[in-house]
């Protein structure tokens, strides 16, 4: 538990340090902080594996008053993922030739984002989540604006919608508090009844969360914001930030909501997930811009998460938790890789359009390879993390003939994702008219982009411990 707290506090502390001290080499400080945070996160994960879930009441007060932190296998895993991705992204930002122009404000904001995410994973009550969500949202919006005036519009949309979402969320929280007098998840879980107020409150909270997570059809802000942000920011947003509301949504509906409400809601969530897969995939197949394609791919892939969550609720099948969280982790890693690679390519060619990728297998082989490998996981090709998650998702669909239509949805989604990934990759194999030569500099950034993609394929090799982790949790 303490390790987890360290993992949370270090980024905050480092952010303060950067702001106050303003050292010449900010990046090194940030990297060191990220490494420390990662180590702490890993220790936290190990301790969870060793001794099971742990909780801590801040300030020593008992619930319902206390701010309660809880460490479970799932959020331990998420903390580690967050720390890994954050480390890779800041290393990328420090090493990439094209990120030199990034404003100094990036470093403290990224640390703030990291810290508030960890805090969110650890929290177990609705108000704490509200606070961390706000912090997260503000950090994210500020990061988007770093791209300069061209991102302002997208950032503004993001900000306004985020505020609107916070309002609906807060409204729902207030209603729940009024009804039950507590905001602690564990306590609420024992109290909730399937009445009108609870239902409305849950729906309000869900709507807010879905807006923040850009779940279809409330995703419109995402492609613009994510594609116009600076490359490391896009990676952080797509990989991590949108997952936070999903986490809350999951706990809310699987713990707090009574099953009378959760079962029909699951069906609708799954349907929305299907819609996300279809429409997001289709848009990714059609857009002419590289980073927009990656952003739409996020919309589509979040559909898998929503689908898994929806079916979990609808069929009341706890096995699907593993699918859900493996999706989240696999997608986070793969998307980091994809955005970093796409950003690096876009920055080096200076063009946004997809057809600027001609000849990339020669000029930037590693970046393109990273994109392809990460894409493989998004498609769900074995043996990757994405494959494991999809495998777990389709197992319950296939066992009952009545559930087969859902599998059809997965088939189409897979094909769409393959279509947009290979749309990019095949461009890279196209002969370029310019006799391009491999550029030596920027190699390290490309390799950093490849790293998470390799990690996501390695997940497949460690699928058994991962699944055991999930089993421990659901047991």
């Amino acid at each position: 538990m303490n390790a987890a707290l360290v993992s949370m506090v270090v980024p905050f502390f480092a952010a303060m340090l950067v702001l106050m001290w303003r050292p010449q080499q900010q990046s090194w400080l940030v990297i060191v902080a990220s490494i420390v945070s990662l180590l702490a996160a890993m220790m936290a994960l190990l301790s969870v594996i060793d001794s099971g879930p742990q909780s801590l009441n801040l300030g020593g007060w008992e619930s319902p008053l206390a701010i309660r932190f809880q460490l479970m296998p799932v959020n331990a895993l998420l903390i580690v993922t967050t720390a890994v991705i954050h480390l890779i992204v800041v290393c990328f930002a420090a090493s990439s030739h094209h990120c030199q122009s990034i404003k100094q404000a990036f470093w403290p904001l990224a640390l703030l984002l990291h810290g508030s995410l960890v805090a969110l994973w650890l929290s177990m009550d609705l108000f704490n989540w509200y606070v961390t969500l706000e912090l997260l949202g503000l950090a994210a919006v500020s990061l988007v604006t770093l791209a300069g005036h061209k991102a302002l519009r997208a950032a503004l949309d993001y900000l306004l919608l985020s505020l609107f979402a916070s309002l609906t969320y807060l409204l729902g929280v207030v209603m729940l508090y009024g009804q039950y007098g507590t905001l602690d998840i564990a306590l609420l879980a024992t109290l909730t009844e399937a009445d009108r107020v609870t239902q409305t409150a849950l729906l309000l909270i869900s709507a807010g969360l879905m807006l923040k997570a850009a779940l279809w059809p409330l995703h419109l802000w995402l492609p613009a914001a994510h594609s116009s942000a600076p490359t490391p920011v896009s990676a952080l947003l797509s990989a991590l930030v949108v997952k936070a509301p999903l986490f809350i949504l999951w706990l809310l509906w699987s713990r707090v909501a009574p099953s009378e409400l959760a079962v029909p809601m699951g069906f609708w969530l799954a349907l929305l997930g299907g819609g996300a897969l279809m429409i997001g995939g289709w848009s990714a197949c059609r857009t002419p811009h590289l980073k927009t394609l990656v952003a739409y791919s996020t919309v589509a892939q979040l559909g898998y998460g929503l689908l898994a969550l929806g079916l979990l609720l609808h069929w009341q099948l706890n096995d699907l938790q593993a699918a859900l969280w493996l999706f989240v982790v696999a997608h986070a890693l793969a998307k980091t890789s994809m955005f970093l690679a796409a950003g690096e390519i876009q920055a080096s060619t200076g063009k946004k359009r997809l057809n600027s990728l001609r000849g990339m297998t020669l000029t930037m082989p590693v970046a393109l390879f990273a994109f392809a490998v990460a894409g493989g996981s998004l498609i769900g090709l074995p043996p990757s993390g994405g494959f494991i998650a999809k495998w777990l998702l389709i197992q319950p669909m296939l066992i009952e003939p009545a559930h087969w239509p859902w599998a059809l949805l997965v088939i189409i989604a897979t094909l769409l994702s393959a279509a947009y990934v290979f749309r990019v990759v095949s461009q890279g194999f196209r002969q370029s008219s310019v006799s391009a030569t491999a550029t030596e500099h920027g190699k390290s950034a490309q390799w950093l982009a490849l790293l998470p993609a390799i990690l996501v394929w390695l997940m497949a090799l460690f699928s058994e411990p991962l699944l055991q982790l999930m089993d421990v949790f659901s047991a």
Binding site: L161, W221, M265, R286
Partner: protein
């Protein structure tokens, strides 16, 4: 043991390899088949070769393949000698000899094959390689003849394949001719009969024959007619068992097909203008006789029957005589021949018609004997007429050959010694063979009675008289090549295959029409992100509240 059965097909291949290195080896190819004669004399045991394809076994197990091996060896050897002279100045002689040797390999292999797979291997090799001989000469006629030959050969191959597989299945997987006595199915019998018949060239499967023989080099025609047609007959003999319900029922049909073919081919041949075409029809006619022998054997199935030896003898007889004539025709069309050449030329011609003291007399006598013993005794008179018809056809051939002498250039000299001597050997063979082979001599002594002699002679004399009268009246035949429906068919087939209507599935997504719709939606949603999203949020809330 230094020489064994399996060396026989390998030796020509060895020659081929040597020839590819040293082209002058082609002068010695006539040696390639000869080791077989040594083996026949030496007589090693039959061998099985489990290393090879399923069931492979080689050797000699009946008079039929014994004689057929002799005829193949003799023919290939002498024809090689002949060809080594005639093809000397050929631009593509290496190609010619390559196909020649491959063909020879196949032919020798199939004759000594004791199992269906080996037979099929040899048969196919021979059949396909012979295409190179038929289509060897440049020009459109050889090409067309070759195409038809190949089309029918491949069709034959496939029918034999089907028949072979059906037969192996019927016999329960047995892979030796000697074990193949089980009843044969109708379909199997017809596949095999047609498949081999396409090679043997009896009516009505003779389509390729009159086209191919005239265009092939003379030596090639000689082996085609002498040895390769016999391979078809041998195939029918080996693959289709006698005395089973199917063959007993098929016997009369096949007999009359043979009989009809024997006469039909004479009529068709008499209408031709080229010596080699006429000879080709004569082969068609003679194959009819061989078919009759097989049909009669099918009805009895007696292993000791004289029909077996008759088939062997007839094969040998026809092979040498017809090869001699083809080579003679080749000489006649390119070299100036003197009177004694013509005298020698008539010998094989009349031997085919059954001239006394030749192999022809032996086989005709035995043949009549066999027919009179069989249920077809009523057709005996027809056989005499058949002999007359054969004689008529061959006299016509000789006349046409004589005519072709007028077309050759003045400078053409007498035939070269090697070519001449090889032709001489074959021409004299009809009277030499009876002196060397007991079976022929035995029959020949039987014919040395007045009644038998007149029976053999009158058709020939009558034919000579008719020919003389006809040439006096100068009967002109004006039927042209209309008979060659085969050529037309083969062209149509080619056209049909190239233009065969096949459905093609091509799915084309037509997205262009939707492009502007998509653009509108994109523009709308990017401009109105805020209102749309907020509106949708309320809508979702509302609808969920309603729905639950």
């Amino acid at each position: 043991m230094m020489l064994d059965w399996w060396h026989i097909p390998l030796i020509p291949l060895l020659f081929w390899l040597l020839m590819m290195r040293w082209p002058s080896v082609s002068n010695w190819i006539w040696l390639a088949p000869l080791p077989g004669l040594f083996l026949l004399w030496y007589g090693p045991a039959n061998i099985e070769l489990p290393m090879l394809w399923p069931g492979a076994a080689l050797g000699i197990d009946s008079p039929v393949n014994h004689y057929f091996l002799i005829l193949s060896i003799v023919l290939w050897s002498i024809a090689s000698l002949f060809a080594s002279v005639t093809q000397r100045n050929d631009v593509h002689r290496l190609r010619f000899w390559s196909f020649w040797l491959w063909s020879m390999t196949g032919n020798l292999l199939l004759v000594i094959a004791l199992d269906p797979a080996s037979f099929y291997v040899g048969f196919t090799l021979m059949s396909l390689a012979a295409y190179g001989l038929v289509a060897h000469q440049p020009g459109s006629l050889p090409r067309q003849a070759g195409r038809l030959y190949l089309q029918l050969a491949v069709l034959g191959e496939m029918l034999i394949y089907a028949g072979l597989i059906l037969r192996v299945h019927e016999t329960g997987g047995l892979l030796s001719f000697s074990d193949w006595q089980q009843p044969i199915g109708w379909l199997t019998a017809i596949c095999l009969l047609t498949g081999f018949g396409l090679k043997a060239g009896f009516w009505p499967l003779h389509l390729w024959l009159p086209l191919a023989h005239p265009v092939a080099p003379a030596a090639a025609s000689a082996v085609l007619s002498g040895a390769m047609l016999k391979a078809g007959i041998l195939g029918i003999w080996q693959f289709i068992p006698a005395d089973t319900p199917t063959t007993v029922a098929l016997g009369p049909v096949v007999f009359f097909i043979g009989l009809f073919g024997a006469f039909y081919a004479v009529v068709a041949g008499l209408l031709q203008q080229q010596a080699k075409t006429v000879l080709a029809f004569s082969s068609v006619s003679q194959m009819g006789y061989l078919l009759m022998i097989i049909a009669m054997f099918w009805m009895t199935g007696d292993a000791t029957s004289s029909l077996i030896i008759l088939l062997a003898m007839y094969g040998l007889h026809h092979a040498v005589a017809k090869a001699a004539l083809f080579m003679g025709a080749g000489l006649a069309s390119s070299r100036r021949l003197s009177l004694w050449h013509w005298g020698l030329m008539t010998l094989p011609a009349l031997a085919l018609a059954g001239l006394p003291l030749t192999t022809g007399a032996s086989v005709k006598y035995l043949f009549k004997d066999a027919v009179s013993d069989s249920m077809f005794a009523l057709s005996l008179p027809l056989l005499s007429i058949g002999s007359m018809a054969t004689a008529l056809l061959l006299i016509r051939t000789l006349l046409l050959m004589k005519q072709s002498q007028q077309n050759i250039s003045k400078k053409a000299g007498a035939p070269e010694a090697v070519a001449l001597s090889s032709w001489l050997v074959l021409s004299l063979a009809p009277i030499v063979i009876p002196l060397m082979v007991d079976e022929f001599l035995l029959q020949l002594t039987q014919t040395l009675q007045l009644q038998a002699l007149t029976g053999l002679l009158w058709p020939i004399i009558l034919a000579i008289v008719i020919s003389a009268v006809a040439s006096k009246l100068s009967l002109k035949t004006s039927f042209k090549a209309k008979l060659f429906a085969g050529r037309w068919l083969s062209l149509r087939l080619r056209y049909f295959l190239i233009h065969f209507p096949v459905p093609q599935w091509v799915i084309r997504l037509k997205l262009d029409g939707w492009r502007h719709v998509e653009r509108t939606i994109n523009k709308f949603s990017s401009v109105g992100t805020l209102p749309i999203t907020i509106g949708l949020t309320f809508l979702m809330m509302l609808s969920w509240t309603m729905l639950f």
